[in-house]
């Protein structure tokens, strides 16, 4: 008979990922078919743009770099391990990841302060936005904490987390190693599943329709008048 911890691990690491991914797929498609014009992250740049830049830009570039690292380690873990086979190269990769992680952390913190601080922005922030921003902040914080407290993540992600994630893809979850992870690594993983789960219900859908030139085009001012549905 599994212990309470074993049962919880089974639910969080063996069942939750499937619930999250299937919800993500079904609701994302349904929302795109039914409400295509809601596929956006309503800009608040027009309402306040002094604090906007450092919140937004630091967070997005930080997350893009770190997330790309996770994706590469998922698809080609052997590349990451080959790169890390010299300690100096491992250290360069880990310090780079920490730099972008910290940029994300500073960015999301500034974005939260701005949403609290600026009355106009606060008014257009829905409950779902607050949930998203809280989950993102926790995700980034736990990621940075894990990077510092449990190095070297790029190597052990490729050796331990990647086989676990592929066991999920193969519909034969192997939870043996993941159940022995330190609690902050577990929290980071579970929170990631929650983000995937809530993705299609929130402004995170903009990730699916982001025009790539956003990354390098000149900034532009956006204005909108409509009070979003569900805004406080």
């Amino acid at each position: 008979m599994p212990s309470v911890g074993g049962y919880l691990d089974g639910v969080l690491f063996g069942a939750l990922p499937y619930v999250a991914v299937f919800t993500f797929l079904l609701v994302s498609i349904q929302r795109y078919r039914g409400h295509p014009f809601t596929y956006s992250s309503l800009s608040s740049q027009f309402l306040e743009n002094r604090q906007h830049f450092f919140g937004l830009v630091l967070f997005h570039y930080g997350v893009l770099f770190v997330l790309t690292g996770h994706v590469v380690a998922f698809f080609v873990p052997s590349w990451v391990l080959a790169w890390n086979s010299r300690p100096i190269r491992l250290y360069i990769l880990e310090v780079s990841a920490l730099i972008f992680g910290l940029l994300s952390l500073v960015g999301i913190s500034l974005a939260i302060v701005r949403r609290f601080d600026v009355a106009k922005v606060r008014v257009v922030t829905s409950r779902a936005d607050w949930v998203v921003v809280a989950l993102l902040a926790f995700q980034v914080f736990s990621g940075v904490y894990v990077a510092i407290a449990h190095p070297w993540g790029s190597s052990w992600f490729s050796s331990i987390a990647t086989p676990y994630l592929w066991s999920l893809v193969a519909l034969a979850p192997d939870l043996q190693a993941v159940s022995a992870f330190p609690v902050w690594v577990k929290l980071h993983i579970v929170n990631a599943y929650l983000l995937v789960l809530l993705f299609p219900f929130t402004r995170l859908v903009h990730v699916l329709v982001v025009p790539n030139p956003y990354l390098w085009r000149r900034p532009q001012v956006v204005r909108w008048y409509r009070r979003p549905t569900g805004a406080a």
């Binding site: 002094r50 830049f53 310090v95 910290l102 190095p151 331990i160």
Partner: protein, 283 residues
């Protein structure tokens, strides 16, 4: 809707139980390799725990089953033989074997009986040479530990998750325990060699299930750990701080670079208009 008859349900349950028991018997050797061989041999001498050859002659079946199911409870009960085992193991309490049940204990004891009767059991343990290790062995082990030489079995380098005092500019990993004194903790070459050949923790088992440590890699690693335990180098306490400060400095630099990159970004058309009007004064 038809309801399943109780006898049918009972038959299915019985089939499952019998099937499970058969599978357990077949899996006993696999279980022993994964969970017991890191500390015990059958006929190969003592490791952290005693040699289990002929264990059935030392205690009776019920006692052995009780001990297998919960070693700590038997020790705590004040049993003198359990106390003696604990003393011989240098105070290391045998961990409760994962998923242990009376049925599994029975199949393990049957396996140990059968293996004890063989001239050489498959669990007699690896033979590790007694020759003194030299600097070349230590260097080869260092290369394996840090990843400069790939493990022949294909496993990831130890540095990914473990540290040893004095290794690397920013130290080793911290997902797993520090291994500076692991050579002493596991009673030297034989104990550590057995552990590395059949690691007993869930993480190591998962990682090395498909990428078992090759025989050729064992001795260099033992040499490296023996040397580490002899040097007893302290882990660099400043390394984590250096790592954090490098990250922080890089992040500050990154923010400045981004600010400079978009120096001429629009800082709001409206604000410029307002500022212009304000500086002119209203007419």
């Amino acid at each position: 809707m038809t309801r399943a008859r109780p006898t049918t349900c009972l038959s299915i349950v019985m089939c499952l139980l019998v099937g499970a028991a058969t599978a357990t018997a077949q899996d006993a050797a696999q279980y022993f390799r994964q969970n017991c061989a890191s500390c015990h041999t059958i006929g190969g001498g003592r490791l952290t725990g005693p040699d289990l050859a002929g264990v059935a002659g030392r205690r009776d079946r019920p006692w052995l089953t009780r001990y297998l199911i919960d070693p700590k409870a038997v020790i705590d009960s004040g049993d003198p033989y359990a106390k003696q085992l604990l003393d011989e193991a240098g105070g290391v309490v045998m961990p409760t074997p994962p998923g242990m049940s009376a049925a599994l204990a029975e199949s393990l004891l049957a396996l140990i009986d059968a293996e004890s009767a063989l001239p050489r059991s498959q669990f007699a343990g690896r033979q590790v040479s007694d020759r003194p290790f030299g600097p070349a062995d230590v260097a080869a082990g260092d290369a394996l530990f840090t990843g400069r030489t790939r493990l022949a079995g294909g496993g990831p380098p130890c540095l990914s998750c473990h540290s040893v005092g004095g290794v690397g500019a920013l130290g080793g990993g911290k997902l797993g325990p520090d291994l500076t004194l692991v050579y002493e903790r596991l009673n030297g070459r034989k104990g550590l060699g057995a552990w590395l050949s059949a690691p007993a923790t869930p993480t190591m088992q998962t990682v090395f299930r498909q990428t078992r440590l090759a025989d050729a890699d064992l001795e260099p690693l033992l040499a490296f750990f023996e040397d580490a335990a002899r040097r007893r180098a302290e882990a660099d306490a400043v390394a984590p701080l250096t790592f954090f400060l490098l990250g922080l400095g890089g992040a500050a630099l990154g923010a400045v670079v981004m600010d400079l990159t978009w120096l001429h970004r629009l800082r709001s058309v409206r604000r410029r208009l307002v500022d212009a009007v304000t500086s002119r004064g209203t007419r």
